[in-house]
């Protein structure tokens, strides 16, 4: 979808190129994050794709078209562009802002209005906002409008330069999750610049790790980069908690769950004692068929059968789609040192510290 071949940017007077013969391939529908320290040329690389910065060497193809051979303004109308400063036009209403590219492309009024109405909904804003001016919106709302404006003419490619960098961390988290859902739904090809490795890991289907001078150190999926950083630079940039970051990417369903100390409510106290002894614990989980009722302490078992006991609910129960990092959190904070997994009310199994750490060291 996007292909950079030996692309360079050498500023006049600079001793070293900002980007040196970079080759990068982005497939259709991929979400590629460009990440690296300041001066690594990630923003320069992004801005060469829509020629806000003109490359001094190499070639760039966008959707099969040689980007350097078409007029820059025409190229840009087919590429969505979102920047950190947002750059909404203060003298135009939200509706007019969103309708910018359709206006430049000469769409008729009715088509543009329909599109604006769709987009305000897509980015989760109220239609009442359409007649307001940008200064009346919060930073988070403004960046939603920025995304809507970039999507207006339905471009196949979106370029984003630290789009969520200027909003507070809570709003940033919301925007990241929403945008990821949106991208998956719309199937856009996204190139996304960030200096925040956690953001790069969370959003990217592939991460391009750049070093000073636009050197591509590693280009791979987040899982692969976290488990096998190719060199010291990548390892350093990933920072601490590499194992935890990897766990955040892996769903519980990818790990091997165990059944754990479980007994059906029809069982007897002797069965319960035997199961607790097998697992060397002093509690047991109670099932009603496949339904998880809770757990009881050994001291609660006063009668020979289990009818009289009142199971206590597990503090946290996770779904197979939750991440292993959440499972680990449940293990270390919960009393029983385990994480129970339930899907649609049905008991799936449990994870303990051992089964989770096996996933990290794998």
């Amino acid at each position: 979808m996007i292909r950079l071949e030996g692309v360079s940017k050498h500023y006049p007077g600079a001793a070293l190129p900002a980007v040196d013969r970079l080759t990068l391939d982005v497939r259709r529908g991929e979400f590629v994050t460009l990440v690296g320290p300041s001066g690594c040329g990630k923003t320069t690389t992004l801005k060469m794709i829509n020629r806000i910065i003109e490359p001094t060497g190499g070639s760039i193809f966008v959707d099969g078209v040689d980007a350097l051979s078409v007029p820059a303004h025409e190229l840009r109308r087919s590429i969505g562009y979102v920047i950190q400063q947002i750059g909404l036009f203060p003298h135009r209403t939200i509706a007019q802002n969103i309708g910018t590219v359709p206006g430049l492309l000469g769409w008729d009024q009715a088509r543009t209005q329909d599109r604006i109405a769709d987009l305000i909904d897509v980015v989760g804003l109220e239609p009442e906002m359409l007649d307001r001016y940008p200064a009346e919106l919060s930073g988070g709302q403004q960046q939603r409008v920025g995304v809507a404006r970039a999507l207006a003419a339905d471009p196949p490619v979106l370029l984003m330069d630290e789009p969520f960098g200027a909003v507070d961390p809570i709003v940033r988290g919301h925007l990241q999750r929403e945008f990821l859902d949106l991208q998956r739904k719309l199937g856009k090809t996204v190139v996304f610049v960030t200096h925040d490795i956690d953001e790069a890991i969370f959003l990217g289907t592939r991460i391009a790790m750049l070093n000073t001078g636009g050197i591509l150190e590693q280009y791979d999926t987040p899982e692969a980069i976290l488990s096998e950083p190719v060199n010291q630079f990548v390892e350093d940039f990933l920072g601490g908690e590499r194992g935890l970051k990897r766990l955040a990417l892996l769903p519980i369903s990818s790990a091997e769950m165990v059944r754990g100390p479980m007994i059906d409510r029809t069982g007897s106290r002797d069965d319960a004692e035997r199961i607790m002894a097998e697992h060397s614990v002093d509690w047991v989980g109670i099932l009603d068929g496949k339904k998880l009722l809770g757990w009881v302490d050994r001291r609660d078992l006063v009668s020979p059968d289990l009818n009289g006991v009142e199971p206590r609910p597990f503090a946290v129960s996770l779904s197979p789609n939750s991440s292993l990092r959440e499972a680990l959190d449940a293990v270390v904070t919960g009393h029983a040192r385990i994480a129970v997994v339930v899907e649609d009310g049905e008991y799936k199994g449990m994870l303990d510290l051992e089964s989770i750490s096996e996933e990290i060291t794998e």
Binding site: H73, Q84, Q85, G87, F89, R149
Partner: protein
Amino acid sequence: MNLVVAQAATPLFDWDWVTRNLDTILEKTLEHLQLTGVALGLGLLLSVLLAAVSIWKARAYKPIAAFTGALYTIPSLAVFALVAPIIGIGTPSQKFWTAEVALVSYTLLILVRNIVTGIQGVPAGVSEAARGMGYQEGGLLARIEVPIAIPAIIAGVRIAAVTVIGLVTVTSLLGLGGLGFFILDGLRRSIIFPTEIIVGVVLSVGLAAVIDLGLLMLGRSLTPWMRAQGR
């Protein structure tokens, strides 16, 4: 003693004189307006051209700013004295253009500076977003940057208008017309005639206030979005 008699004989403000000379008052007011309007119009036209050059060729801004700044520092009487021998003050049209050259030269510094700083003040992110969406240079300037600079440009026009209205009063010293005529005439009589002076002063101040207010309202109506900023 004489002074009291004189005051009794000629009141501070003589309404009869005003009624008798209504035609002249109207004529001089219109003359004043015309001199101001033409000076502002020409000044704005020239300033837009100079500002355009300054924006396209950044290196040109310093010499342009220096030149318009130098014009601004020449005392107004000296400018009239310099221009008069070149254009002449024989015919009414010569007088008119002598006045205009001087008046226009005073508007340039204020107008060029406000247009250029207004456009340079457009946030970099706004211009970059516009380029990134496919605006070409001309469209970017006309549709995005100039509209955003309107508040700064109108502010400049307001200062220029008030300055020119004040200066037009001075042009009367050279017999070049406008409301200054009354002030000069009132002072020149053997006994100072306050009515005439008051008419000249009040009308020129009033004119400045009305035009300033008019421009302020024009600016507001052109920039509905500015009200959103304060909210």
